[in-house]
């Protein structure tokens, strides 16, 4: 048996250069210091994405993307298919935890100034991955065709429609027509299972290659002598897998005690149900839109808020080029303070959505 494995390895090594990869993994070092806990969230995001791919593929077996049968197919998955409730709950819970992990990964990279040269593209590719996963959440939310998802999608796509000049065309492209109709669901399904995964593979590939080639960034705030280096394999990878196991256990507990609900079937001609809100990661924008006055000077409040979020997002993406001090390996407390205010705003607005639903 040993001989067989050795022969097989030699055969594959000659073709795939496996020894070189093993050599690279052996040599690869990872910085270790008092903030290195935050490094593990990148790996956690990757692990959660793999869970999403596996459970998503399994759900495809029974889900039907048509307005006449989507809701019923979810009922079948939850009630009739063996362990269907588990697969769907894992998919839904993981989607929410994944977005949370991406936010943690992004803000920890931000505060450690991991975006400074030469890692600007790592930051930008990460930003695009955040947008892609928000789009995954948004498109996946409508697929069960329940009333909560229906109206949340209507609000979300209308936000795109309010953009000047190109808004209506974008909205029509997303919806497959001027409003949510039978053409919308297959289109959302197409985004969710084909287009977004395609972009994910390309951008995540670039993101991982950048992390591997450039290595992990060390925080500016720590002096060099406080930073040790540990081997990536096995030290870092073993701690990484421990994090994965903890997350997996958490998902298991959530699915067993709080299986994902189905809700009421969507009726485009019913009044919007009270207490409607989108998924938690959109609620800070949702509550901002709620508290904006109808007009601010000469502009409509909603358009102003939406443009504000877009400009804010753009500046956030360009932060590696705006933070001049970090680029020179100097501390940049003003940028950190801005980041802290943004984080506080997101937390307060998200909390308000749940604590004061009738705000």
């Amino acid at each position: 048996m040993k001989n067989f494995i050795k022969t097989a390895f030699t055969y594959l090594d000659a073709r795939f250069l496996l020894s070189d990869i093993a050599q690279f993994a052996k040599k690869k070092k990872v910085p270790e210091h008092k903030h290195s806990f935050w490094y593990y969230f990148g790996g956690i995001c990757l692990f959660l994405f793999i869970i999403q791919v596996i459970t998503g593929i399994l759900l495809l077996l029974y889900y039907s993307p048509s307005i006449d049968s989507a809701y019923e197919s979810i009922h079948t998955i939850m009630g009739k298919v063996k362990f269907g409730w588990l697969i769907r709950s894992v998919h839904s819970w993981t989607a929410n935890i994944l977005v949370g992990a991406i936010f943690i990964h992004m803000f920890s990279s931000f505060f450690m100034k991991a975006y400074r040269p030469p890692r600007e593209l790592t930051w930008i590719s990460g930003f695009f991955l955040l947008l892609i996963f928000l789009a995954f959440g948004f498109s996946g939310y409508l697929l069960p065709w329940n009333e909560l998802a229906f109206f949340a999608t209507r609000v979300g796509t209308d936000i795109a429609g309010t953009l000047p000049v190109i808004g209506k065309s974008i909205e029509a492209f997303i919806l497959g027509g001027p409003e949510i109709s039978g053409a919308t669901l297959p289109r959302f399904f197409w985004f969710h299972v084909a287009i977004l995964p395609l972009f994910t593979v390309i951008i995540m590939g670039a993101h991982i290659i950048l992390v591997q080639t450039l290595g992990m960034s060390k925080p500016i705030s720590l002096p060099e002598k406080e930073i040790k280096e540990v081997p990536f394999f096995p030290n870092f990878i073993l701690k990484d897998s421990l994090g994965w196991m903890i997350i997996l256990a958490l998902i298991g507990v959530l699915c067993v005690f709080f299986p994902w609900e189905i809700g009421q079937k969507a009726d485009p001609f019913a009044a919007t149900p009270l207490g409607i809100k989108p998924e938690w990661y959109f609620t800070f924008m949702f509550t901002t839109l709620k508290i904006m006055p109808s007009h601010v000077l000469f502009a409509e409040g909603e358009i102003l808020a939406i443009l504000g979020f877009m400009v804010g997002g753009l500046l956030w993406m360009l932060i590696p080029f705006l933070d001049r001090n970090a680029a020179k390996e100097k501390k940049s407390p003003v940028i950190s303070l801005i980041g802290f205010i943004i984080l506080l705003y997101i937390i307060i607005m998200t909390a308000l959505t749940y604590l004061h639903p009738r705000l």
Partner: protein, 140 residues
């Protein structure tokens, strides 16, 4: 122009033409086709006596919803049920006798005007008339 340059330009145009001829059908396929739908002018919203005073009903007005309200005085009023803020469907709140959009708490009075919240403009009002046993609603 020498022969080499001519061939370069010729091949460049051919390549561009090929790419465009491949892309055009794909783009047209992905963009939604325009639906030719006759716009609805008048619909039957309810039957006479169907609505008790201080209650409402959502009805289909073409492809969008409308709201028919029977006020406490027994007066029938109809509006587009699509909120002018971010297009959620509105409902009638009988205890406050106002129209509410539950998405962002926009509130309208019984003439469709904005009382509070983020909606930038009033609800579109429809004309209500009774024809025999039916309550007919039309665009004013």
């Amino acid at each position: 122009m020498n022969r080499r340059k001519f061939i370069d330009i010729f091949l460049g145009f051919s390549l561009t033409g090929t790419v465009v001829s491949f892309l055009y059908p794909v783009i047209r396929y992905v963009l939604p086709s325009k639906r030719l739908e006759a716009s609805v002018k008048k619909v039957t919203a309810a039957r006479v006596g169907e609505l008790a005073p201080n209650s409402y009903k959502i009805f289909k007005f073409g492809t969008t919803p409308g709201i028919l309200i029977n006020t406490t005085d027994g007066e029938l009023r109809a509006f587009s049920a699509v909120c002018t803020h971010l297009t959620c469907n509105v409902l009638y709140e009988s205890d406050t006798e106002t129209i509410l959009c539950p998405c962002h708490n926009g509130r309208f009075d019984l003439s469709g005007k904005v009382i509070s919240g983020p909606p930038p403009s009033p609800l579109e009002a429809f004309k209500v008339e009774i024809a025999g046993e039916e309550i007919m609603v039309s665009r004013e």
